[in-house]
Symmetry: C2
Subunit: 261 residues, 2 copies
């Protein structure tokens, strides 16, 4: 498994149990996705939540109830086996972290695949930009904001953002580039003073790892795929399966195919 | 003359002497341009300067030597009569401010029309954004930076920028919108700390009027059409005609026709 692997090769490795960890740096041309699997009745609410909050919750694909396949994201794709590691939740409590959920599959389950920042980060890297958390081998810094998402049914909660420090010229260029990718969070949601979106201290992220913001840099904030996870944690559905953090579904879609112009 | 006037109507008013002042707020759908008229030998150098510094000096049109017409910008357009007020320069010194330059026209003169921020400001206003200097009836604040333009022949000098204070969400949206208009300065060149581009005090612009930057706003800086004027002042060509500040050439091009996507 490496940066040039195909989506299929990564999925096969996950299926065969050869890959059970994170997918960062693998199949870098392919779109990776956040996975949420819910019973059909909760799924309807979750879809409404995503529709109302498409910037943090962009739906790349959604299965039919009971069908574990998502052919638009990969002809062979089986959502029960192709994620390297899963998390299983009951009533909002984490109960298992298996590498395969075939034994948990049900006729009423619906799988969602949501866009992820890996896609737009790759577009930034391809443009020659440097991203500090990647240079330092850290997870991106993420923060809960005071910006509320639009609720739907039992789903609600704050927008979570990821932050990347960039010099002004790169912040402008990154805004241009990520604007082309609305299905993977799109343009930034905030630039500059973190207090204006309710972030008290950049050095203390709510998720991920802190990185330093230099004197000649601006903190640039994007809507983050942890937002739906926070909404799921608040909603506490009776049953839910997600990917484990960093162990994403690798699709056959190319990042470049998501570019809107 | 009003916001809905045609380009032709404004040019005819300038031609007839009915309009001899600024064109701000007139024919707002049409592209307005900065005008620079130079002898052919200096014009070649100036064109090279504009080519190397296309963000502050975007050339929308250029006449043949001795030909006062620019049919790509207006079928009837006559650059000797259609600008409401001109400035005539000899060896870098302002010598006259006529409303017509037919008596000064020569067989070796070349006219340049350069894009102007009115076009992208209109796109921002059309998007529902508020611009403080317009709300307050002031000229935009402009600053000489410590960013040098790329020299060409005798033309050189600092990049001049215009500044508009915007909240972060508007700064992001304005970056998206103005990116679509590369021929009228395009995306911002800087956002945030003015000191990073050599501006000591936002309250003391080098040209135009100061406006306040509120605590929840970022100063957003665009390359400015005053840059070539500063380069002309430094070059001191033997002869030069420009538009008088604010009294622009109104063309038949629509702002929207400059949108790149």
């Amino acid at each position: 498994m490496h940066a040039g692997s195909s989506g299929l090769a990564v999925r096969q490795a996950a299926r065969d149990g050869r890959l059970s960890g994170h997918t960062s740096g693998l199949a870098t041309r392919q779109v990776q996705g956040n996975v949420v699997i819910l019973p059909a009745d909760v799924a309807d609410e979750f879809l409404r939540y995503c529709q109302r909050n498409s910037k943090p919750c962009p739906v790349l694909g959604m299965s039919e109830p009971g069908d574990p396949h998502l052919p638009v994201l990969g002809a062979d794709l089986d959502i029960r086996t192709d994620v390297p590691r899963y998390r299983v939740w009951r009533e909002g409590e984490l109960v298992a972290e298996p590498t395969d959920v075939r034994d948990l599959w049900r006729d009423d389950l619906v799988a969602f695949v949501l866009g992820c920042s890996f896609s737009f980060e790759q577009a930034l890297l391809d443009d020659g930009m440097q991203l500090r958390h990647i240079d330092q081998g850290r997870n991106v810094a993420m923060y809960r904001t005071n910006v509320a998402t639009v609720p739907a049914g039992r789903f609600h909660g704050p927008m979570v953002v990821s932050m990347r420090p960039l010099r002004a010229a790169d912040a402008i260029r990154a805004t241009q580039i990520t604007s082309r990718f609305p299905q993977v969070h799109g343009a930034p949601v905030h630039i500059g003073d973190p207090a204006l979106i309710g972030i008290a201290d950049l050095a203390r992220p709510d998720y991920g790892d802190a990185v330093q913001v230099m004197a000649d840099e601006l903190p640039v904030f994007w809507a983050c795929g942890v937002t739906p996870q926070a909404a799921l944690a608040a909603a506490r559905p009776p049953f839910c399966i997600t990917h484990a953090p960093g162990a994403m579904l690798v699709t056959d879609l190319l990042n470049q195919q998501l570019a809107s112009f």
